[in-house]
Subunit: 202 residues, 2 copies
């Protein structure tokens, strides 16, 4: 029961690749590795479902990997990209919101997501950081995305295979330095959730 | 139920201070902030028990904060301290073992700990890094400590108030640049567990 080798499944090894990619993003200040982490994150869930190895341990490891790759790494990249006090505060807020989002996700048992999923949040932050070279703009984006993550706005889990394929291609492009499509897709997803929420509130 | 402000308790705010301290350790490459994180980590559990606010959300947030402050931050400090390939590999191994340790902790329901607790692991890594200025030695220590974290060795939860007070003082000294006592206490704790394990195996 305690022996860790007996608990680890194939999907957990993919989650570990997610952690390694996130760590290397921090160590070498590489934006592109965040997108690679998103790939691994999507892949581990897929493999776990296909191989019937969905486990409580896997879910715990997933949360832990997500805070490394989509919480700490984007915050660090944002801060080191600009190195200013305002950006420092926004980077901390982003990571804290990500942590709260992940902890809430761990205890909720609902269909879909409550609050913007952290991989989408990371893509928005990192993507804008690569495209807009303005510290104040990117810091404000980090805070807004952080607040969206801890909001009550409901987001659907994407299951449409064509959309998932387009997203996968956009991620590959982002890994090779073209983040526009991945950013655009996440922006549509993000704003779509807000519009649905506002419609339901009225 | 979804509203995050209704879930967060006083102890969760202390856990957030742990995350902030861990992030700043990474952003500013400061060893001493790891010890501050250990202080917050001990404090949040104490406050949660005293105020009767122990919660599933708090436990999730605790795991997430631990990987930031005692997984990513020490790994990053080790790597940037030496900047060599061997150290890079050992830093990744340390962080991966920490993640596996935390995920296993999240699913086990046993008295005490299975595997060296990650805050003790972080103190051992960071402490030796500050004292021994040899990249190979520190890299090997990182790997050994990592393996101890995912081992089956049982560790007791310290409840003796005198020992906890001495540990708190040693942490304060470590925050102010004197890591020897905190390192010594963790080393005794670490080796004590190994000796008990070896005795029981025979």
């Amino acid at each position: 029961m305690f022996n860790i080798r007996k608990i680890i499944t194939i999907s957990d090894y993919i989650t570990m690749l997610n952690i390694i990619s996130g760590l290397l993003a921090i160590f070498f200040s590489m934006f592109s590795l965040i997108y690679l982490s998103v790939m691994f994150d999507a892949l581990d869930g897929y493999v776990a479902r296909k191989t019937g190895t969905v486990s409580e341990f896997g879910a715990e490891l997933d949360s832990i990997s997500d805070i490394v790759s989509f919480g700490v790494a984007p915050s660090y990249l944002l801060y080191t990209h600009y190195d200013s006090n305002f950006v420092l505060v926004s980077a901390i807020i982003f990571c804290l919101c990500g942590a709260l989002r992940l902890a809430r996700f761990g205890i909720l048992n609902v269909e879909g997501f409550v609050g913007l999923p952290i991989p989408a949040g990371a893509i928005l932050l990192v993507g804008f950081c690569q495209i807009i070279n303005n510290s104040y703009m990117d810091a404000i984006i980090a805070i807004l995305v952080g607040l969206l993550m801890i909001s009550d706005i409901r987001y659907k889990k994407m299951r449409n295979k064509i959309i998932l394929c387009i997203f996968a291609i956009s991620l590959i492009l982002a890994i090779f330095g073209i983040p526009y499509f991945a950013l655009l897709l996440c922006l549509i997803y993000c704003i779509g959730g807000i519009i649905t929420y506002l419609k339901q509130s009225h």
